[in-house]
């Protein structure tokens, strides 16, 4: 069975935010504007977050691109009262916008704050709407949304493989963030396939996961910065 996962190599990442822009473009994420952004209501399925090593108030800052972790033990799925968010057999944590009642229990429960809420009806000033991606739903007001691991790209690749009567290949599915990454820091693939690139990278000694001790079992694996030795 496929279990989709992502590896983000922090040694390669320069913090340029190309992934963030690409994600917003690909997934029809609206611009909320100055006032709303100041209130913390801008939506970033992929966001570069700061993590201060050594606690909240001291130490060096580390920058990490943070998509949805697609946890194998997702705290958000458990608490949803209407089953609007679920974990599918491929390990993807999905969101059913049409069912979501907007109680924001999942957003409150997510330890990564990776879920976002549509405070108002999103809008695109004409002709902005022309650049909307036809593969991705536009979300109405009042529902929760988050990174989908570009599930539409996964389905497209799977359909193509099926039409050509073959198995899907490693590296065939590339989410928008990984595709644009200038320093090729983001890798995507099947964690259950021991030969896949992500599986191999996930076995690296540099590998760690965010808030691992919480037992959420995230499927986004980070590779910490390397050391230079002369």
């Amino acid at each position: 069975m496929t279990r989709w996962g992502m590896v983000i190599d922090l040694d390669r990442c320069s913090g340029c935010q190309a992934c963030v822009v690409a994600c917003r473009q690909e997934n029809n994420i609206p611009v909320v504007g100055r006032e709303q952004a100041a209130m913390g209501r801008a939506i970033f399925w992929m966001q570069i977050i700061e993590e201060r090593e050594g606690g909240h108030n001291e130490g060096r800052t580390r920058y990490l691109p943070r998509p949805c972790m697609h946890c194998d033990n997702p705290p958000c799925v458990k608490v949803c009262p209407v089953g609007a968010t679920y974990r599918n057999p491929e390990g993807l944590v999905g969101q059913i916008y049409a069912r979501c009642i907007g109680c924001r229990y999942c957003t409150a429960a997510c330890p990564y704050t990776a879920r976002y809420f549509n405070w108002y009806e999103p809008s695109w000033e004409p002709p902005r709407e022309k650049s909307l991606n036809p593969d991705v739903y536009v979300r109405p007001k009042g529902v929760v949304e988050k990174c989908s691991f570009c599930v539409h790209r996964i389905r497209k690749a799977q359909r193509k493989a099926k039409d050509e009567n073959r198995e899907i290949e490693d590296g065939e599915v590339i989410p928008a963030c990984a595709e644009t990454c200038p320093s090729k820091a983001i890798h995507f693939g099947d964690l259950d396939d021991p030969d896949s690139e992500v599986s191999k990278l996930a076995g690296s000694r540099r590998a760690f996961r965010l808030e691992e001790f919480l037992g959420t079992d995230p499927k986004v694996i980070y590779l910490r910065e390397g050391e230079w030795s002369e």
């Binding site: 340029c16 089953g83 320093s183």
Partner: protein, 784 residues
Amino acid sequence: MEIDRRNFFKVGIFTAGTLIAPRLWGDIGLETVAEQPWEGPPGHENEVLSVCQMCPNGCGIRVRIYEGRAVKIEGIPGHPLNNGSLCPRGQSALQLLYHPHRLAYPVLNKGARGNGSLQRMTHEEAVGLLAEKIGDLVRRRQTHRLVIVSGSHSDTDELILRRFCDSVGTPNYIKIESLGRRSRSMAMGLSQGIFKPPSIDWSNCNFVMLFGSEPGTSDISPMWLLRGFGELRQGRAGRRAKIVHVSTHFSPFSSKVDDWIKIKPGTYGALALGIAHIIISEEKYDADFIEHFTLGFEEFKEVDGTLRPGFKEHVLNNYEPAKVSSITGVPEEVIIRLADEFSSNRPAVAYGGDGPASYSNAVSELVAIHSLNALIGSIDVPGGVLIQRDPPLRMPERVSNNSLFTHNLSQPPVDDSIRSSNLPVYMAGSNLPMRLSDSSPYPVEVLVLVDYDPLEEAPGPNYWREAFKQIPFVVSFCNFSDESSRICDLVIPPGTFLERWDGKSVDSSVGFPVWGLSRPVLETPLDGMDPSSFFMKLAKSMGHQIAGAFPWQSIEELLKEIAMDLNPSPGQVNPWDEIAAKGYWSQSPYRFGRQREVYQTRGNRFNFFMYSMEAAASHLRSAGYANLDKTGTDLAQSAFLPNHNSAEFENWDNRELFFLELFGTTLSGHGRHFSLEGLRELQELDLNKSWGLWLLINPRTASKLNLSNNEIVWVESNHGKLSARVKKVEGISEDSVGMIFGQDKGTEHSDTLSNSAMSLVGENISPLGGGLCWGTTKVRIYRA
């Protein structure tokens, strides 16, 4: 109804039943619920290959078109420059294409500028109007009074506009280059005779010293640097390069590198020469390379007997570590360590970026930094400094000067530039606005701005406001109602790069030649006519003589002609179809070991002793520039060696002043497209804020000035002032404040105050390089 026990329990069970019945524990029927991707009716979909021009670099892009709409841009996989990737600015190009505030048609301002009545017209009518204005100059034999200032990234615009100026008879085609580019080109020009910024073979480096350079922040090779950053780290199994970042403030990028060195503003070159001192005194330099490929390492005598000083003695005598340490603030042991690591981990590269390029001593600092590469032989070798080669384009021959315009063409250019193909002297864009407002050397009658908004992008916007008042007819080619176009007579929307034909050679990056073909991605073009087409049309409407210089029916036809010699496969007659199918042409790999191509200087060697600098100095002296101290051109022979001259800052006030560090980020670049909402909404990493104009300030400085986060303060220089919000950032040093290029550009309109941080910067141009020194400004901070 009587209450009895039975009734009571009935009620209870009913209540519980209705609540529990709908769903029990677990994922019931979730797979039947609609999946996220929307499977609408399959629409027609295709991909158009083109070239990104959000910066001058020229990445290959493929645009996904769905039912005639452009819905996403990705890089072209395998493209030598960006290999399928794109930077944040490139990803935002569709926001430019489908911007709601794009101008739809040319507008003529009738009456007073700024508040006259606006008349809508077609592009054809605009061509006619401009033909009339320029035709008038032609009739009066005053064509030199036409000035075209272009900030366009397009190579075709460059060709057509220059050609138009030549054929009409004006010396006043002025190209505005990216900030810092000119100084970086000059440094390469003085030492290697190549007037282009250096290209670096990142993927083979082992040790990188970045002097005030951050990948992705400047307009020079952001993608190439970002790509290189990943390659250096984890691109090669078992070989991880060390990256040293020398800069004046600790940025988010500084936290990404292996070693960050803090340096005082304007002293980069001193550090480089201090490192050179150690390398030379410990004899860790590449003696073989120095012997065969450099000139002036040791003292030498000219044929005529003139004694030329050597770099070696010069550095040993003047840049001992203790002295350098006191200049730069970098501890001696760090200088020694850097020298050791740099010389023993080859191939190593020293690279100067926006940091050194921003000070008044820009060119000499960049030369000093580049001399480190020569010391250890890191030029024209894998993992070293390469030169960017041009594709063999079949450019149309220059317009032969017809008798009609010889007089006009020989007029002094209005920007007072000294244009000599073999002298690194350039004054363009410097005092241009002042001279325009003074009507010297002659009054200008028609000013055409192409993709350039001087009131936002140029330093000292008030000079430009003055200049505008003096010029009877000002035309602006711009897609948005920007600061400048608001006070223009005629505004013509040129459209975006996604709607036009263009050919683009990549800027300094990969080394080997790459030529990308840009073409309209939409079947039905939006509004706008690109400047090339416009001026070709204009020329054709202006009569035989001028029209004759433009024999092509369309830009596409011109490009076909230009690309004739780009043979992808030997023996092929017309390469066009193949280039069109691939999106670009390239000729890899890089050819090493062509000394005459790499060093186009005297002796075809790396010039430690810079002959062209000496020539430039005498030229400047004869042209009447007295104050040459900052270029060192008045000084002794040793001034023509790599030197550190102290940078000048504007100490305009007795009260406490702070260095203004005006810098770019990967999102902002140099601020050109930073008005796109999609970019503005992203949080700058160390700011943790989006939108707005922010002043980055050290927390200790802030508490000294009694300022808190989000507070609005005035930032005042001797050129202007603007209000910004305070954000305490630990990485900024205590004697500086920071601002980001282009923040809040074009968002708040005011006739007296420009909101771009560039308005705080003065017209400080280094006479030698001609580049703007935007780091010389000092500001005062006080509560609004």
